[in-house]
Symmetry: C2
Subunit: 135 residues, 2 copies
Amino acid sequence: MKKIDILKKLRSSGLRPTKQRVEIARFLFEREKTFHFTVESLNKFFEKKTTSKIALATIYNTVHAFKNAGHLSEVEVRGKKTYFDTNVSNHHHFYDSDTSELIDIDANDVIIQKIPKAPNGKKIKNIEVFINLKN
Amino acid sequence: MKKIDILKKLRSSGLRPTKQRVEIARFLFEREKTFHFTVESLNKFFEKKTTSKIALATIYNTVHAFKNAGHLSEVEVRGKKTYFDTNVSNHHHFYDSDTSELIDIDANDVIIQKIPKAPNGKKIKNIEVFINLKN
DNA sequence: TTTTCACTTTAGAATCATTATAAACTAAAA
DNA sequence: TTTTAGTTTATAATGATTCTAAAGTGAAAA
């Protein structure tokens, strides 16, 4: 992902490109593959990089702005922490509760044949398939 | 559900049948249909019944014992509160984020035709289909 | 029956993730 | 420059959950 795209992501999220936000955005989006993270894991990463300490509140704010702009999705995982995904396309997940690891499943790798119709005046927004793993 | 079954549920969860636990168990299991609840909703119910006030910690302990014994399941819902379900059979859910309401979907009403195979030495424990609703 | 002892309940404290706050900081525009 | 709106930050507040320690309860032994 090019620098200009990073700036575009920030602008489209209503965020000025400050030093902290650019760092967060680069860490999230300058990679080959999409990935999953929690605010805690992001925070740990920036704590290790002694060059740049970013306040927890800034990480929360920035991540939420990206999420609201549609640049991040939130994954349905039982538990305390919120998992985010830089893959915002429609897709599904494996979840390994032993390692707390999420693995993406491409939307094309799941075909659902039969689905009940939505109740009383409601419509289906989206369908998430969650496959729990064991050893 | 008969009284003896209530006692059975308690015993099989490793719980002595105390007054508080019997009350909780009866509220959860003495009904025609299964239902969803949170610890908060249970607590509110017992607060209203002025005859019997049950400490929050007791509710948490009892609910967890039932869950560990397999008499309750925990539903995958994004958000702070934990949702429990007295339906412990394999099934799926609609979720209405407007009302925070969960609706059961019978396992037979969802047919999945294609599924990716589990990664590296892992097996599939179970599959949860979660259908988000909108208006 | 009384005693014992393990199990329970309870209120309140502690914890953990997250959100809010308010003061100090930054930077673009007037 | 000065202004002004937007930012970062440390810390406080919140809310769900878990822990703790003291007081309560009850089944079974003596």
